[in-house]
C-alpha cells in the first residue's frame, strides 16, 4: 500500500512539474511591452532636435566651417592654427642658418693719376687694383613669418636678415709710373696682400604663397615664391684698411704723394660698395604635405586591402582646412579566420 502511494505521489509530482513548466513556457515574456511606434517617433524627434542644438552649440564655439565642409565618407579637418604652426616652422627652419657662399670673384679697377708737373698737368702714372675674392659667406636668419589664409592659398611674408658673414680676398695693387720724373721719384709698384672682411647686415623680405590643393589622398601646400635676390656688401675689416695704408706707406715719400691722390681706400670702397648679388632660387621651398590624409591601402591582420579614394573637395576656411573623400574598400573577404583562435572548450 505504502509503495503504491509513493509511486502515485511521484507520478503526481512529475505531472505537476511538467504542467507548471509548460504553463510558464507559454506565458508571454516577463518584459514590459515594447515601445509603440508613436513613442519611437517621439524619441527620434527628441534626438534630432538635440543633434541640431549640438550643431548650433559647436558652431557657436568656433566650428564655423563644419556646415560648409566637403562631404564624403571620410572628412578631415585640419585646424588653421596647426597648419600655421607647420608652415611657420618649416619656412623658418629652412631659412635659419641658410648660407650664401660666393667664391672666386674677381674685381678689376684701373685708372690714371694726373699731376701738375712744372706748368701743365701730366699723367704721372697708371694704377690697377685687382680684388680676388676667394670666398664670401653670408648667413641668413629668418624673422617671424606673417601668414594670411585666403580662398585657396596661404600668403607668406618672411623677413630675412643677412645677419653675419665673412670673406677673404687678395688685394693686388699695381702702379706704373709714367715719365722720367715719376719714374725717378716713385718707380713701379706691384704688391699683393691678403685681406679679410665681414658682411654688412641687411634685411630682406620674402613674399609669396603656398597654394592649397588636394594631391591624391592628402592636402598639399605648393610653394609659389619668386627668387629672392640678396645683395651681399662686403665690409673690409680693420686689417684690410691697415693693409691698404701699408701699401702706400711702404713707398718712397714722393711716391706716397702720388698714391694718396689715388685714394686707394676710396677705390676699394667703391669697388666693394656695389655688392654681390646672390639669388635664392624658388626651388628652395618644397611642397609641404599636411600630415593627415587618406590611405590607399589598409592592412588588417596582415592582409592588405586596396582602398580606392575619390576626392570630393577641399575647403580653406578661417578655422580649418577641410578635405573630403569617398572611399571604397576592395570587396574581397580575406581568410582572416585562419588567424583566429578557437575558443577554449568550456
Amino acid at each position: 500500500m505504502t509503495r503504491r502511494v509513493r509511486v502515485l505521489a511521484a507520478a503526481l509530482a512529475a505531472t505537476a512539474a511538467g504542467a507548471a513548466f509548460w504553463y510558464i513556457r507559454l506565458l508571454p515574456p516577463d518584459l514590459p511591452p515594447p515601445s509603440t511606434p508613436e513613442e519611437i517617433a517621439a524619441l527620434q524627434a527628441k534626438r534630432d532636435a538635440l543633434a541640431e542644438r549640438l550643431s548650433a552649440a559647436v558652431a557657436a564655439h568656433g566650428e564655423k566651417s563644419l556646415k560648409d565642409a566637403p562631404r564624403g565618407g571620410i572628412m578631415l579637418g585640419i585646424p588653421t592654427g596647426f597648419t600655421r604652426s607647420i608652415v611657420q616652422q618649416v619656412v623658418t627652419g629652412l631659412f635659419d642658418g641658410m648660407t650664401l657662399t660666393l667664391r672666386n670673384l674677381k674685381v678689376h679697377h684701373a685708372g690714371e693719376v694726373k699731376a701738375k708737373v712744372i706748368f701743365r698737368k701730366k699723367v704721372v702714372g697708371a694704377f690697377v687694383l685687382d680684388v680676388d675674392i676667394q670666398e664670401i659667406k653670408g648667413i641668413l636668419r629668418p624673422g617671424a613669418p606673417e601668414l594670411r589664409f585666403s580662398t585657396n592659398r596661404i600668403g607668406v611674408a618672411l623677413p630675412v636678415r643677412l645677419a653675419e658673414g665673412s670673406g677673404r680676398a687678395n688685394l693686388r695693387f699695381q702702379w706704373d709710373s709714367k715719365g722720367l720724373a715719376a719714374n725717378t721719384v716713385c718707380g713701379d709698384v706691384d704688391t699683393t696682400k691678403a685681406v679679410t672682411g665681414g658682411v654688412v647686415p641687411a634685411d630682406y623680405r620674402l613674399e609669396g604663397a603656398f597654394v592649397i590643393g588636394a594631391r591624391g589622398e592628402s592636402v598639399t601646400l605648393t610653394p609659389e615664391f619668386p627668387d629672392l635676390a640678396v645683395r651681399i656688401f662686403v665690409d673690409p675689416s680693420e686689417q684690410a684698411w691697415g693693409v691698404v695704408d701699408e701699401v702706400v706707406k711702404d713707398q718712397r715719400k714722393g711716391c706716397e704723394i702720388a698714391l694718396n691722390k689715388i685714394d686707394l681706400k676710396a677705390q676699394l670702397a667703391k669697388i666693394l660698395g656695389r655688392g654681390f648679388v646672390v639669388k635664392i632660387p624658388q626651388k628652395i621651398l618644397k611642397p609641404v604635405r599636411l600630415p593627415a590624409g587618406v590611405t590607399q591601402s589598409l592592412e588588417i591582420q596582415g592582409v592588405k586591402m586596396p582602398v580606392t579614394v575619390k576626392f570630393t573637395g577641399v575647403l580653406v576656411a578661417q578655422d580649418r582646412i577641410w578635405y573630403g573623400a569617398d572611399i571604397q574598400v576592395a570587396g574581397h573577404a580575406p581568410d582572416l579566420a585562419k588567424g583566429a583562435k578557437a575558443a577554449e572548450s568550456r
Partner: protein
C-alpha cells in the same frame, strides 16, 4: 513524506523555470533594443549638448577625422567572414556588420551564423552588438577595437530550447568572439614627421630637416551618422639635419 518533498521540489523547479518563459519574437526584441538605443542616444546627446553649451567641448585646436557609418560598415565587412569555434563543436561565423554613430553612441551590430560541427541541420542566426573602444594612433595608423556588450538569437533551428542553449554558449564565449573581430583600422594616414629636403648646390646651402609631429586621440564623438575622432596635434620643434655634401 518523501512524496511531499518531491512535489515541493518539482514545484520549485517549475518556479525556477520562470527563466524559461516563451522567447520574445525577434521583431519585438529588435523594437525593444531600438527604443533602448534611442533612449541612450537622447541621454548621450543631452550630456554632449550640456558640455558644448557650457564651453566644455573644446575642438578647435584638434584635427577632426569624420567617418561615415557606411565607410565603417564597408571596412568591417571587407574583413569578414570571420569564424570562431566555440566549445570545440560549435562554429560561429561573423558575416556582416552595421555601424551606428548617433547620439554620442558608437555601436556596431554584427550578424553571425552558428552551426554545430558535423550536424548540418542545426543552425542559428545571432545578432551581436558592440561599442567601439580603445581608439589609438600607432605608427601612423588610427584604429579601434570592438567591445561586445549584447547579443540576441534571431532564429534557431532547434526551437526555443535550442535558442536558450545558443544564448548560454555565446554568453560563455563572448571574449573569444570579441577577439575574433579584427580591429577597425580607419583608412587615415597620420604622418609622424614633415620632412623637407635641403639644397646643397650652387651658392645657396639650406640644411634639410624635419618637423616632428605628435598626435593623440583626444575625444570621440559619434553623432549624426558620423564618427568624429578628434586628435590633439603638436608640431615641432624643427630639427635641422646635417647638410649632405656632394663628393
Amino acid at each position: 513524506m518523501r512524496g511531499a518533498c518531491a512535489l515541493v521540489a518539482a514545484l520549485c523547479c517549475a518556479y525556477a523555470f520562470g527563466g524559461c518563459r516563451r522567447r520574445e519574437s525577434p521583431e519585438a526584441a529588435r523594437a525593444r533594443a531600438g527604443a533602448a538605443f534611442l533612449r541612450q542616444q537622447v541621454s548621450g546627446l543631452e550630456a554632449l549638448v550640456a558640455k558644448a553649451e557650457g564651453e566644455g567641448l573644446e575642438t578647435q585646436d584638434q584635427i577632426a577625422v569624420g567617418i561615415s557609418e557606411a565607410v565603417v560598415k564597408s571596412l568591417v565587412d571587407a574583413s569578414l567572414p570571420q569564424s570562431v569555434t566555440l566549445a570545440g563543436r560549435v562554429q560561429l561565423t561573423l558575416e556582416s556588420a552595421q555601424a551606428f554613430f548617433r547620439g554620442n553612441r558608437s555601436a556596431l551590430a554584427l550578424r553571425a551564423s552558428l552551426g554545430i560541427i558535423d550536424v548540418q541541420s542545426a543552425h542559428a542566426k545571432v545578432e551581436l552588438a558592440g561599442m567601439l573602444k580603445d581608439f589609438e594612433i600607432s605608427k601612423g595608423k588610427l584604429s579601434a577595437r570592438v567591445s561586445l556588450i549584447h547579443f540576441s538569437v534571431l532564429e534557431a533551428s532547434l526551437g526555443d530550447l535550442g535558442a536558450d542553449a545558443v544564448e548560454r554558449l555565446v554568453k560563455q564565449n563572448l571574449g573569444a568572439i570579441e577577439r575574433a573581430i579584427p580591429p577597425l583600422v580607419i583608412p587615415v594616414s597620420i604622418e609622424e614627421k614633415v620632412r623637407i629636403g635641403g639644397l646643397t648646390e650652387g651658392t645657396v646651402v639650406a640644411k634639410p630637416g624635419a618637423l616632428p609631429l605628435a598626435f593623440s586621440v583626444a575625444q570621440v564623438i559619434p553623432v549624426r551618422e558620423r564618427l568624429w575622432i578628434l586628435l590633439d596635434a603638436k608640431a615641432g620643434p624643427w630639427e635641422a639635419a646635417p647638410t649632405e655634401t656632394k663628393p
